[in-house]
Amino acid sequence: MNSLTYKGYIGKILRVNLTDGTWSDFSLTDELVEKYIGGAGLAARILYDELEPGVDPLSPENKAIFLTGPVNGTMIPAASRVGLYAKSPLTNSFFHSSAGGHFGAELKYAGYDGIILEGASEKPVYLFIDEGNVELRDASHLWGLDSNTVQHEMHEELGSEEIHIAAIGPAGENLVRFACVICGCRALGRGGLGAVLGSKKVKAVAVRGQGSVEVPDMRKMRLLLDELFAKFNANPSTSEIMPRYGTPVLVNANNTLGMFGHNNWQDEFYTESEGLSGETMRKQLVKRDKSCFACPARCSKFSIVGEGQNEGCCVEGPEYEDIFSLGSMCGHNNLDVVAAGERLCDDIGVDAIEAGVSIAFAMECYEKGLITDKETDGIELRFGRDDLILPLIEKMGRREGNLGNLLAEGVKRASEQVGQGSEFFAMQNKGLTFPGHSARGMPGFALGYATGPRGASHHDSRPTGERTGLVKRDTIEGKGEYTARINHLNILTDSMIVCHLPEAIWGPLDITDNVVRCLNAVTGMDLTLDQARKTAERIWNMIRMFSVREGYRREHDTLPGRFMEEPIKTGPSKGMVISREMLDYMLDQYYEFRGWDKETGVPTREKLEELGLEDLTEDAANL
C-alpha cells in the first residue's frame, strides 16, 4: 500500500538480494521524495547511505539501482527516461546514466518506482517483474549473447514482445569498464554500469505491466500538457530541427564554429566533416523518425546502411556523439562505418563515446611511437583507418589480445599503463572521456566538465548557453554561477526524470517555472521556484559529498593537458584554450558561489546545514 502523500510515485522500490535470491519492498517516504525527488537524487541518497566508502565497484558490495522519477509514465513531454545508478568502475564515484525509450514507464506500470540490485549471484540470472510479480530466473542459456539477440530470445521465452528489457552484452559480462546496458535500442550508456550488472551476473531485467501513474488533478494536468505541447510545437529546435535531423545536426553546427573534436582533439575543425553531417545522414541512412515515450520531438532516427560492407545494418541512430567518437575522433568520415560501429557498440554492449575516444587515444599513441605492434597485436593503428573501427570494438568488448584488454580499461587506465606522457592527450576527466562538445571553445562548459561529479560528462553542465549565444562564449567572467545554475537544472530534471534535450523549454540557463509546474502537477507538491532550486542544490551537494568521501578534491576538478596547453589550431575558434590560470579563476568563482571551501572543494558545514544535509557534516569534518 502506497503511504506517500504525493502522487506520481508507485511508492515502492524492489530490493533484490542476488546473493541469496530473495527480495523485499523498500517503501518511499514523504521526506525522501521531498528532499531528493527521485531518479538521480534519490539514488545518490540511497547509495550514500548503503555503500561503504572505498567499495570496489565490481564487487558484490556495490549496488545497482534502476530508478524512475515521479513524471515517468505520465504524458509530460520528454518524460521517457529511466536511470541506472551505481558506483562506477570507470570513475570510482556515484554515477548516473539515463536512457529514453519505454522501459521507465513500463517499470512503473509493472508496479515499482525502481529496483535495487545488491550482492551477486553465483550463476547468470535475469529479473522479471510481471504485473507486480517478481521472478529471478536462470540466464545461463543467455550468457554470452549480444544485447539485441538476448532481447529477442527473452521475448520468445516469455511469450510476448510487449515486455521491455534492459540487458547487457558480452562487454558487461567481461567487465569492460565502459560496458553499457541496452533498453530496446537505447543505451544506459556511460560510466560502465553494464559491468556492474555483469559483476552481479545479472544479464537482464524485464518488465511488463498495465498499471498507471496517479496524478492529483487530471484537469489541471491536461491544461499543463496542452500548454507544454504548444511550446514544443512552437520552438524551432523541438518542432523543426530535432524532428528533421536529430542530434547529428550538430556536426555542421559545431564544425562551423570550429568546435568539433578531430583526431583525438588534436584539432577542432575537420575539413571533411560534411560526410558525417546530419544532412548527409538524412540522405544516406535515415529511413524514419522515432519518438521516445510521450515525446513529440521525434529526434531519434532509424537508419539502414544501403550499400558496401555493412549493407543492411540497421540502427537507431547514429547520434551526434557516435559520429564524433567513432568518426571524426578517429580521423575518418565514413558514415556507414559509424552507423555499423554504433550498432556493434550496442550489441556488444559498450559506451560508443568511450569506445571511439579509446580508439583515438590508441591511434595517437601508436603514431607517436608510445605503443608498437607488440601492444597492438600487429595492428597498424593510424588515424583515418575506418577499417579498424569495427574490429577494435569487437576486441575491446571481448577483451581480446593485448590491445583489447588495454582499451577495455578505458582511456584513463590505458594512459596509466602506456605512460610516457600519454596522460597529456588522454582525453578524460575523473576516468570519463570527453564527449563531442568543445571545452576550449566554451569556458563555462569547460568548467562544467572539470567539476562534473561524473567526470567529463556533457550532462552535468551543458554546452547550449554558450553555443547558442545566450551568454558570451569568449569570456570566463561569470562562468562560476552560470555553470552551477545549469548543474541544478540538470540534476533536478535527472531526478524527475525528463530528457535534457528540450532545454529551451526547461531552461536552458536555470530551473524555470516549466520544470517546477511539471513536478507540482504530477506530485501535488507545491514547490516554489526557489524551493525547487534549493532542492536541486541539495542533491548536487549530496552527490559532491559522495565524491568527496571517495577522495575527490579540488585538484581532481581539472582538464587534460591538451585542453590547457594546446590552443585550437585552425578554424573559427583558432587560438582558444583554457589555461590552468583560467580554470583556477573559474573554479574559485564556482566554489565561492556554491559555498564550498576554495582550497579543497569540499562543501562547508554551513552549506550542508543550510541544505538540510546535517547528517553529512560529520563525514565532511572527518575527512
Binding site: 510545437n233 529546435s237 523541438t238 562551423t256 564554429l257 546530419g278 544532412e279 553555443r467 549565444g469
Partner: protein, 94 residues
C-alpha cells in the same frame, strides 16, 4: 551591397542552397537581413528561427566572416559589401 549567406540543415533546406548571394541596401543590419528572409521565404523560414508563440527570434549564433555574433544582443550589427554571413541553427540539446 552584395553579401553571401551560408547555411545548413533546416535553413539550407528552406533557402535551397548552401551559399546564397543576396543584394541588400547599404548599411543593412542583421535585423534587416532577417526581415528580408522572412519576407521572401515566409512561414517556412519563420518556423526555423522564430518562436511561434512569442514571435521572437530565438537565441543562436551568426558568423560574419567567421566572427561570432549573437541574435540576443547583436541584431543591430551593420553588414558590409562582400560579407559572408553564416546562419547557425537554433538547436538546443545534443
Amino acid at each position: 551591397m552584395k553579401i553571401t549567406i551560408k547555411s545548413f540543415a533546416n535553413i539550407r533546406d528552406v533557402l535551397g542552397q548552401a551559399e546564397l548571394p543576396m543584394e541588400l541596401a547599404p548599411r543593412a543590419t542583421l535585423t534587416d537581413l532577417f526581415t528580408r528572409l522572412n519576407s521572401e521565404y515566409g512561414e517556412n523560414f519563420n518556423r526555423q528561427v522564430y518562436d511561434q508563440l512569442s514571435g521572437e527570434l530565438v537565441p543562436f549564433l551568426i558568423l560574419i566572416n567567421d566572427k561570432t555574433y549573437r541574435t540576443t544582443v547583436d541584431m543591430d550589427t551593420p553588414l558590409s559589401d562582400g560579407d559572408v554571413v553564416t546562419i547557425m541553427i537554433p538547436f538546443d540539446g545534443g
